[in-house]
Every structure is written in C-alpha cells, then in structure tokens.
Symmetry: C2
Subunit: 349 residues, 2 copies
Amino acid sequence: MKLALDAMGGDDAPQINVDGAVLALSKLSSLEKLYLVGNEAELKKRCEAAGIARDARLEIVHASEVVEMDESGLDVLRKKKDSSMGVSVNLVKDGTADAVVSAGNTGAAVAASTFGLRRLPGIKSAGIVSPLPSVHGYVLVTDTGANPDPAGPRLLVGYAVMAALMARYIYNRPQPKVAVMSNGTEDCKGSKFSKETFRALQELAEHKLLPFNFAGNCEGHDLLETDLDVAVTDGFTGNILLKSVEATAKAFAHWLKAGIKADFMAMLGALAMRRVFRRISEKLSADSIGGCPLMGVNGVSIIAHGSATGVAILNAMRMAEGMCRNSVNDRIVDTMGAINAYWNHDSAE
Amino acid sequence: MKLALDAMGGDDAPQINVDGAVLALSKLSSLEKLYLVGNEAELKKRCEAAGIARDARLEIVHASEVVEMDESGLDVLRKKKDSSMGVSVNLVKDGTADAVVSAGNTGAAVAASTFGLRRLPGIKSAGIVSPLPSVHGYVLVTDTGANPDPAGPRLLVGYAVMAALMARYIYNRPQPKVAVMSNGTEDCKGSKFSKETFRALQELAEHKLLPFNFAGNCEGHDLLETDLDVAVTDGFTGNILLKSVEATAKAFAHWLKAGIKADFMAMLGALAMRRVFRRISEKLSADSIGGCPLMGVNGVSIIAHGSATGVAILNAMRMAEGMCRNSVNDRIVDTMGAINAYWNHDSAE
C-alpha cells in the first residue's frame, strides 16, 4: 500500500504523525511507500531525530500551508491551495497514493476528500462511519457528521450499504445486522425521515438487494448491548449521538476519579483494580480505533481524532490498509449499482 | 397538593405505586390528598397490607382497564376509555387533582395528557424534559420524545422556555444557560432546522424576551462537563441522545463488573471502592430523578420510568409538587405570551 499522511494534521502535529510513521514503518509490512506531507524542513529534522529519515519507503512531500482546527471546510478549499491536507488528498487523486490519513480539522478533511476525490459511482453523499465499542465488539454508527442535512432516505440507504460492507470486510461480520436509529424499536416509531428510510430499506430487503440483515428500528438503548453491527442515521443525529456517548464515558471516568481522590480506602481499591480500569480505558480509547473512514469518496480517506497519538495514526493506517486490501470501494460500487438499477427501473415503471 | 397516581403504570405495578404512596404519605408534608387510581379490590388489599388503607388523605379511585407497555398512544385513547392512566389524567382535567404521576407507557401518557389536559395558552407542542446528571449537577434535555417531528423552530423556542423555567424553579438556577444541540459549537454548524432554531432564539435574546442566557450551539461533548443547564432539540434527536447516554453508562457498568468478576485482586479492590460505586450508581439512577415532566400541557403531568421503584414514584411526586408550588405553568404562559406578541407584531409589520 502507498499511503499519504497529512503530517500537519492533529492537535500535536507534526510529532504524532512522525511517531505514527515510525510505528508504521516497523509494523505495517504491506506499506510500500509513505508520503509524509507538510513543512519539509521541519519534517526532515523530526524524521532524522526519529531515525527514519533514511528509510527508502519514506518520502517527504512539501506543502507550505496548514489547515487550522477552526477553519471552515469550504474556506480552506478556496483559500489554502497548498495545505498539507489538500496536497495529501491530491496524491490519492492522481494515483500516487492508495489512501490518505489525516488527524486534522474534520470538516476540512470531508470537504477536501469529497471535492478532491469526487464520489464513487452510484453514491450521492459521503458519510463518516464511526466504530463504537459495544458489549459485543463494535457497532458502526453512520453518518456521524459529514452531511447534517441528507437530501432523502436513499442517501441513508447508501450509508447503510457502505457501513455494512465495512463491517463485513474490516470487522469480519459476514452477514451484518443493520438497523435504523429511531426513538423506539417498534416499526411505527420514528421521524418522518427515519420512517421513509425504514421503508426504503424494507423494500430493498424484500427484493434481496441488501448485503446485510435489515433489523428494522433500533433505539439508543440497543446500541451498546445488542449484537447490532451498524446503526444508520443522518449526520446531525449521528454526530450528537457519537459525542454524547463519548461525553458519558468521560463523565463516568470523572466521577470515578473524584470518588477515588476523596476516599483513602477507595484509592487502595483503585490500585487493586488498575488492570480492569486500564482494559476499559483501552477499549474506549479513540486511539485503538485510530480513525473513521469517510466512505463514498472515490479513494480511501481516513479521518483520525484531533487528539490522536502515534498509535492512533498507526491504527488509522491499518484501517486504510484493510479498506484497500479488501477493495471495499469496488464492492460498494457493485452493490449500489444493483440498488440504483432497481430504483431506476421502479421509477420508470 | 392533591395528586393522582396511575397505580397500574410501571413494570412492577401496582406494588411500586403502593410503595410510593407509603413513602409520600410519610415524607411529603404538602400532600393533602392522594388518589390511587386502578383496580379497586387489588389496591385496597395492597394498601391494607402496607398499613395505609385508613389514612384519610388516601382515596382509591376505581378504573377497570390497564394500558399495556406496547400499546400505541392513540389506540389507547380510542379504545380504553376507563384506563387507570386516562382516569388519573381526568382527575386533573376536572380540577379534583393538581397533578398526575404515571410510570406507564410513555407514548400513552403523552397522548392522554395532551388530549385530556390540552395545551397551555401560547404553547403549540408539549415536550418531555429529561434531567441528565452532569459533572455540575443536572443538564435538562428537551424534547426527549413527545414529538419526533416538530413543525418548526418556534416549537423549540417553546421547549427552551419551558425547560429554562423548570431549571430556574426546580433546580434553582436563577439565570439558566440554554443552548441548541448541534453537530458542533460554531454558530455556522447545524442542520437546517437547528440553525433556524438558533436564529429564532438569537433574535429573541436581542430583544430581551428570553428568561435565560442563550449560549448558542452545544454539542454532545458539552453536555455533561460544562455548566449548561438546558440543551434543546427535537424529540427524535433528544430521545436518541437520552437513551444513548443511558446505554453508555450501562455498558461502562457492564465492563466494570465483567472485569471485576475475572480478577480476584480487582474483586477486593471493588469491595474497597464500594462507597464510590454506590454514590455513582445513585447519581445515575433514574430513581433519584423520579420522573420527567411533560411540559406545555394545561396541568402538571410527570412521566416516571417504566422500571420505577417506590422511591422513584416519591421523587416524581416531589417533582410534581415543585411544579405546582412554583406555578411554573403560569410563568410559562406569561413568558410565551410576550414572545408570541413579538412574533405576531413582527409578522404583522
């Protein structure tokens, strides 16, 4: 795999990306080429310090501008023509790299990838897929923020197909279980929009056009304690859901720490429980997931957390590698081709 | 206060409601009259066993039907004319009681209260307000499911006003901080609908018509770790948010328990930490909140959790008592009167 890494993306960039590069060069055997994109002088110095400057697989690609965390995605596209993010995406666009990883500004990464790579044939809107740790492994929530106002339920069918194929090929779930997020599990529950999505999926399921088991509606309660693989919703609801789940885990940890600090016995208890706490914190850490793919663009684009570490960058590259090796995009095009043919035929009748 | 309790509502009804009655009769000094509504013979027997049958404040009101947990709200209205829930609401409607508490089917409680009590003047849609424990106390999320498809941003202005007045009078926050749920905190972020709500609130804030500080957008991350008092959203998003937060807390507890079970040292540690765990579990317990008001109806209607215990029922009655004592509904009518006058004047211009 040839990978472009936006070396200036992330709260602690560029060092986290150099750390990620060090890890990837030693652990990711399929890595043929790693393009480290950003300020050349700075990156050269850090790569030398990290002892990877002479690795033949590494190539530093200069980019003179950096996307800030608070810039709007469209502003960046217009004004910063030579940003590390844009140059990284262009390496995929022109076929030099197979995939791009960035821990920079999410809105800008979505805009740069969507406008730079264009969408896959048959896909009308790209969506971010976020894996959430559940009691049974992971549940993939999509869209978590690429498009807060999807124009119709058929866009959500696309999200469901993309996330289901990711569940199959990246998370090894041959027949993923997919549900529509709603305010209750009964078929009659939902907003006008979620009900339309439900019906569109139900119709495709009846015609055996879905590469997954359609499980109807799911609600927040089902998310982490059932064997659900994919929960599909619009980017507005998905983003609020994702961040609320993260906030709850953080608040829980806050209450534990505050309780432990105030009580000497509990402090000893916490010491004895440290392995349990470490395992939970690893499970919930964004670093172990690494990054979330922006699915539906013509190329592989992985968006890592702004607070990513080198380990997160490595895991984001692993996600990119899995998407490339399993040709997930080709499978999306095939599946959506059949679904679009059904829709076109249906509306022509 | 005179209170109607739907004695047949809740997973463990009627006993939890009899337990709640026992607690309320001994602890709630403002309780003048408690109407226990349901199967008379059954309730009489249980009240006798609990030693409250002879309390002059208690009156059993017979209702021959029970609303099941999986019935649709509108079906119940049409078919079950003598349900314990409907009869309880009617006691408020005809002025016999000041407030109603039910741990029954939420959809049916919303339908029965909205159709039975009608809406407050100036309010176009009732909303459920759910207090979530945050690091700073509580954040009130509304609407959490009364109306999954609100017809316009002005309905959400109503939700914001109602929850803010609840924050002021029930949670003692003289100048509550209120924000609109969105997929990012920047002013430009949001769905079309949340942005319209943002602008409607901003305009009212400029004209000093809001009984709270309008803090702009908030995202999931802000929910539990800032000093936000109210987060306003549509009933679809709010319901998913609320249940996802509950699911995360449950999953966290699941991982802790599983880790402790598998490790003898951790088991000892957990024993030493039991006070900390108990405090967190009390904080997160739905029982300590008791119930969520359905705000905007002409009367006080509190919806308790289906899995409520007697303690939850007592706390739901306390919530009802606070709403009555502080005349929260009158204050809503005043505030919305001024806002509606501004809107009418504005559109007449």
